[in-house]
């Protein structure tokens, strides 16, 4: 009878703290609708792996190693980067690049809104993080969950759990993080700038050629990004080719959903109390926030520089939409534009910059791997 209660004495305070953290993640997912597809499995997984002698993770019982299911999933799908890549096929199939193809100038906002990644890389290195860990932390600024998982795992960072929590939490918090930063570095006059939108049609051939060209261009300049960008663009090609509608639907729904379920709970294997409850975790959360802030600053400042020379002024808030968090960032910019002037519609411009951010963040991930790996 006593054997039933024997495991109670194995419960530790750090494990209880991790249950609480798991509970908070589940609460944020359900009550606040913050990235529920990932934070809920992650929160539940955090509880699962922090139960004493949890059979979900690898344990040694009487000198014999018993491999846990979550560790098997982690090794099968994350340690070899398979899950993030498969998820990219689904994401690629979901993205409509038309706003970008209509107005390709918007692509450059995606470039400068990656500034936070490189700013954070330098800052994390300055704060004493090993270069590979600094790169893994910096990629939180990609505002792109699968890229963060891919890069952090590529560098075998021991902070994968904290990095993923930070990346997905801040993506969900874009509507809270970006507006004060944008307001701080723009004037009301700038926020009221109107931008003309011309609805140009884009040929089907251009839409089909786009993913192929992006893959070739990224592959030549940043060969290490080919897996990331290639899978993203493969998904988009399935969407745009017009003859694989069933596959496109499957990639957007079943594939993306299945991988998301497994991704969240697998990442939780890195949320064991001994790995997660460290001062470094707090620093990673702070650095992730810095990355998002400086992404926004980079995009807005680029737009302001453009305005020094351009005849047709750009609303600098569009620059802030150049991060990868789609569609949150473009919605934030659109709403801020409407708040300043109820007849100023910035959504299509912001959406173009936003999808450009998705491409640029993936290229940034590949370049970070190439530069530091």
């Amino acid at each position: 009878m006593l054997e039933i209660f024997e495991n109670f004495q194995n419960i530790t305070i750090p494990q209880i703290i991790m249950w609480a953290i798991g509970g908070v993640l589940i609460y944020l997912a359900i009550k606040k609708d913050m990235e529920p597809t990932l934070l809920l499995p992650l929160g539940f997984g955090a509880i699962l792996v922090n139960l004493p002698l949890s059979g979900a993770i690898t344990q040694i019982h009487n000198g014999v190693e018993e491999v846990g299911a979550i560790d098997i999933l982690f090794n099968a799908g994350i340690a070899n980067e398979l899950f993030p890549l498969l998820l990219f096929i689904g994401i690629g199939a979901m993205i409509d690049f038309e706003p970008l193809l209509t107005n390709p100038k918007l692509m450059f906002f995606g470039v400068f809104a990656q500034f936070g990644i490189f700013f954070t890389l330098s800052l994390a290195a300055l704060l004493g993080f090993d270069l590979k860990d600094a790169a893994s932390i910096a990629i939180i600024g990609a505002a792109d969950g699968p890229t963060s998982i891919f890069v952090a795992n590529y560098f075998n960072s021991k902070y994968v759990g904290a990095i993923i929590v930070a990346a997905y939490s801040y993506m969900a918090l874009v509507p809270i993080i970006q507006p004060p930063v944008i307001k701080l570095i723009t004037t009301q006059k700038e926020r009221k700038i109107r931008m003309e939108y011309k609805q140009n049609s884009v040929s089907k051939l251009t839409k089909i050629m786009f993913p192929i060209i992006v893959t070739i261009a990224a592959g030549i300049v940043a060969p290490r990004s080919v897996a990331l960008i290639g899978f993203l663009m493969f998904g988009n090609l399935i969407r745009e080719c017009g003859v694989l509608n069933m596959l496109s639907q499957t990639a957007q729904k079943e594939l993306a959903n299945l991988i998301t379920i497994l991704l969240g709970i697998s990442v939780a294997s890195k949320m064991r109390a001994d790995m997660f409850l460290t001062t470094e975790t707090l620093m990673i959360l702070a650095l992730g926030l810095v990355a998002f802030i400086f992404d926004t600053v980079g995009g807005v400042c680029f737009a302001k520089i453009i305005n020094l020379f351009a005849k047709k002024k750009v609303n600098p808030m569009i620059g802030a939409a150049g991060i990868s968090a789609f569609p949150m960032s473009s919605r934030v910019v659109h709403k801020m534009g409407l708040a300043e002037d109820p007849s100023n519609f910035l959504l299509m411009h912001a959406a173009g910059a936003n999808v450009s951010g998705q491409i640029a963040s993936v290229i940034a991930g590949g370049l970070i791997i190439a530069l530091i790996g």
């Binding site: 193809l101 390709p104 100038k105 692509m107 450059f108 995606g110 470039v111 400068f112 990656q114 500034f115 990644i117 490189f118 700013f119 890389l121 330098s122 800052l123 290195a125 300055l126 704060l127 004493g128 270069l131 600094a134 140009n200 049609s201 884009v202 040929s203 051939l205 251009t206 050629m209 786009f210 060209i213 992006v214 261009a217 990224a218 300049v221 940043a222 620093m283 450009s356 491409i359 640029a360 290229i363 940034a364 370049l367 970070i368 190439a370 530069l371 530091i372």
Partner: protein, 41 residues
């Protein structure tokens, strides 16, 4: 917390190369899209 100024300096050229790399890829894509938009109206 160990302030590592040498590591910080080491990352600066990487940051410049990284931003330049993204810019280069996007510039190539931009030029090709411009050409395609004109060619396949």
């Amino acid at each position: 917390m160990n302030i590592n100024f040498d590591a910080f300096l080491e990352t600066l050229p990487m940051a410049v190369t990284g931003m330049t790399g993204i810019f280069t890829v996007i510039l190539i894509i931009f030029i090709v899209i411009k050409i395609m938009n004109k060619a396949f109206k």
